[in-house]
Subunit: 144 residues, 2 copies
């Protein structure tokens, strides 16, 4: 967790990317909350931390984090999570609990073998795959 920040810092240094205060803060927020957050929720937390709070502040930082693999967008929720496997070139699959809103990031083993298999039939060249499952997490399923 504190580790992911370190990883991001290292990666940025090695790749000439600027890990600026606001970008760092947004990543810290995402990792610390450990759940999906909307851009405007993040914005509120930035304000509390003394940063400016116009929408572009959050969206720019999020763009940076997503683009460089430090965070992901959850399309079904229009919200964002910190990456749980930073540094790796990976192909995530998300499990979103409809009861407690917890989001877990799993590795879509074999760069989405499922998806490319379907795609190849259609002659489609996949560049990125969004895989998001909705349902019940282990804990909520047990107590149901």
């Amino acid at each position: 967790m504190g580790n992911s920040i370190k990883e991001a810092e290292k990666y940025c240094k090695e790749n000439d990317l600027k890990f600026t205060p606001v970008r760092r803060k947004v990543l810290e927020i995402l990792l610390q909350k450990n759940k999906a957050l909307g851009a405007y929720e993040i914005l509120d937390l930035l304000r509390e931390a003394g940063f400016k709070n116009q929408p572009p502040v959050a969206y720019r930082a999020l763009d940076f984090l997503v683009k460089n693999g430090f965070a992901h967008k959850i399309e079904q929720l229009n919200s964002f999570v910190g990456c749980m496997h930073p540094g790796k070139d990976h192909s995530p699959a998300f499990m979103i609990c409809r009861n407690c809103d917890f989001v877990s990031e799993e590795e879509a083993i074999n760069p989405s073998f499922s998806v490319s298999k379907i795609a190849s039939k259609a002659g489609f060249k996949v560049e990125k795959a969004v895989i998001e499952a909705r349902g019940l997490c282990h804990s909520c399923a047990s107590s149901a």
Copy 2:
């Protein structure tokens, strides 16, 4: 295509659902355009066809169509497509071309295959899976 309308009609009759003019028209629009359309684009087309054009008109019809499996929402695009495999209880996977915006719906063979395999490791009970690939369609990949 005209077939999908017939299928919807039949399904609604059998299940006591009202396939009203506006619902039918929205489905016709989606099937005819054969690409992902935003709710407000649909709204414009409804207006042209003489329907009311406040946002709820489109969203209500889309809710109905999605809920009953006649259409799908493409989360990455905040837009909607007519279903290509109506009537079947199916688990779709979408291929979205970043060049020409064409969206094709494929069958995610073996619903439990890809996603639930990942999910089971995490103790997650999948109820619905969103699978959307971005990349290049056959035609755009060829001419690149």
